[in-house]
């Protein structure tokens, strides 16, 4: 359904994403891992069209989305939801309004100006919040919520878009382990119950192993691993993270209990 062929994105001379190709045939839960600066965020942003590709093509169900312009591009964005590490909600607006922003592409500017969302949409927004277990926070300002709750509001906004794809850029990187698990469970459930394609940038190996059907490893803008999580051995991880023999897998973990088992010194080194 999604096919990336030869996508390159350059910032100046430097290629953040370098000739990346892969194909996804059916809705799945896909993880992209790699160390900081590997180009994970840039790749997701080119799929959502927040960033334009320098060369290459992105196809979704027989339409070339990397060439869409203006209204067509915005319509694609409304079908391809994005979740950010920093949530990217409007902090001064209430939770339901933030969820309703998922429908903006269908709404006129005038509707936006006077906050005239249809009642069905408002009801649906609250239902989605309920599904994610945060309905009681509906009238609060987004900034009054904890990080984990804000990220679930962002997921609700994504679901409000009724998207074909959900892209999640390090959705749990600024959350504590408890909230990280709640958010990852929610994303996995959305994939399983609604059959949506989820692509998530993750920065811990154990999360990738635990939640993903397929893992793509990136290093310096290039794909260096692509396979099921079982094939993600310590050797493969060393290759992805470009680490030496002292590489400890637990060093990339945030899960409760794991760090206790390893020496902190090893983790820092």
């Amino acid at each position: 359904m999604l096919s990336i062929s030869g996508v390159t994105k350059k910032f100046g001379d430097k290629a953040a994403v370098n000739n990346v190709s892969f194909q996804i045939d059916e809705p799945a839960f896909i993880g992209i891992i790699g160390r900081s600066g590997a180009g994970k965020s840039t790749l997701l942003r080119t799929i959502n069209r927040l960033t334009d590709v320098t060369s290459g093509e992105i196809q979704f169900e027989n339409s070339c989305i990397s060439k869409l312009k203006r209204n067509d591009r915005r319509r694609w964005q409304s079908e391809c939801a994005m979740i950010f590490q920093q949530f990217n909600l409007v902090p001064r607006m209430d939770v339901v309004s933030n969820v309703l922003h998922g429908t903006l592409n269908k709404r006129s500017t005038l509707t936006t100006l006077f906050n005239l969302y249809p009642t069905e949409d408002i009801h649906r927004a609250v239902e989605i919040l309920d599904r994610l277990g945060i309905a009681e926070h509906a009238p609060k300002r987004a900034e009054a919520l904890s990080g984990g709750q804000q990220q679930r509001v962002a997921i609700a906004r994504a679901l409000m878009q009724d998207p074909k794809i959900i892209l999640a850029d390090e959705p749990i990187a600024s959350l504590d382990p408890m909230n990280a698990q709640i958010v990852m469970d929610a994303l996995r459930r959305i994939h399983e119950e609604d059959g949506r394609l989820v692509i998530a940038n993750l920065h811990t190996l154990d999360t990738a192993r635990r939640y993903c059907d397929r893992v793509i490893g990136m290093r310096d803008g290039v794909i260096v691993f692509d396979g099921p999580p079982e094939e993600l051995t310590t050797e493969a991880a060393r290759e992805i993270y470009d680490a030496g023999d002292d590489f400890s897998e637990e060093a990339t973990s945030t899960e409760i209990g794991v760090l206790d088992r390893t020496e902190m010194v090893a983790a820092v080194a």
């Binding site: 915005r74 964005q77 939801a81 950010f84 909600l89 001064r92 903006l104 936006t112 962002a154 906004r157």
Partner: protein, 297 residues
């Protein structure tokens, strides 16, 4: 710092020469700056002195002779007004329509100028502009609009369109748009772009992104700048009356140029003008304080 090696001299990079180069080049820069500063100060002093001398020689009768008479005019006005004080309430009432016209001119021009300035600010700020390539152009336009004084535009328009409130509104609105555009874009530069990016990612259009992502963040600031501008524009509107744009300033010029006999009217107009300016000054500063407090709460 805990690393003991850091205290030993590093054989690869002798720190002495490095530091010396940095010190020398920095000192050279400081001296250059001081020199420029001195030159600017000198030019400034020279301009002040020469300007004063020119003004003094051009002034009919000379500045120093005029200085002695400075107190005479207000004294005439005051003494005449005092003699006619019984008429004053009637005059205050008589000039009320003119006062309303002055406030009206200020209100309309503030509204138009603030909206235009807001658009200029959005289109002139990186990360928010609809056409990023046009940012330098928008900024220069804003600068020019701000640089030209209201009275110059007003005189030009009065020459073309004739007197009346319309030239005044246009003149003040143009200057307001320039000033507000600059102030707003400084605020907008510090806007958190994350919400805007979030709205982009759902396919929101430019207007929606600005209304929902930017406006809630900047509204208190923008409102307080607009109130301040309204206060300034009441003054500007009164002054433009002098050059034929109607309102209180126009009446004041008539009263004053008629000379003795209408000084009581002039006094009434002064009272109205001061009262109005003080009233709006107090009003806007109270609201601005409230907004500032509301923001931190």
């Amino acid at each position: 710092m805990s690393n003991p090696n850091s205290q030993e001299p590093n054989p690869k990079r002798p720190p002495q020469t490095d530091t010396k180069i940095v010190q020398d080049s920095y000192m050279a820069m400081v001296q250059r700056k001081r020199l420029y500063g001195g030159i600017v100060l000198l030019i400034f002093v020279l301009m002040m002195v020469s300007g004063f001398m020119v003004a003094d020689s051009r002034n009919a009768g000379g500045f120093w002779d005029g200085l002695k008479n400075v107190g005479d005019y207000p004294a005439d006005v005051l003494s005449e007004a005092w003699e006619q004080r019984a008429e004053l309430p009637g005059y205050l009432f008589k000039f009320l329509p003119a006062l309303i016209e002055t406030i009206n001119i200020a209100a309309v021009s503030t509204l138009v100028g603030v909206v235009a300035g807001f658009l200029l600010a959005m289109h002139g700020t990186r990360g928010l502009a609809y056409f990023p390539w046009a940012i330098p152009f928008v900024r220069r336009t804003t600068d020019i609009m701000r640089a030209v004084p209201e009275i110059v535009i007003a005189l030009l328009l009065i020459f073309v369109l004739g007197g009346g409130p319309v030239p005044a509104v246009i003149a003040i609105a143009i200057h307001t748009a320039g000033a507000i555009g600059k102030l707003f874009s400084e605020v907008a530069e510090n806007v958190d772009l994350k919400p805007v990016e979030g709205l982009s990612s759902v396919g929101a259009n430019w207007t929606q992104r600005v209304l929902l992502g930017v406006l809630p963040q900047v509204a208190p600031n923008f409102l307080s700048y607009s109130l301040l501008r309204f206060e300034i524009n009441i003054r500007a509107s009164a002054i433009l009356g002098f050059v034929g744009a109607g309102g209180l300033g126009y009446e004041l010029r008539n009263a004053m140029s008629w000379g003795p006999g209408l000084f009581d009217e002039a006094a009434a107009i002064f009272i109205l003008l001061f009262a109005t300016i003080i009233f709006f000054d107090q009003l806007s500063s109270r609201y601005r304080n409230q907004l500032a407090e509301g923001k931190s709460a």
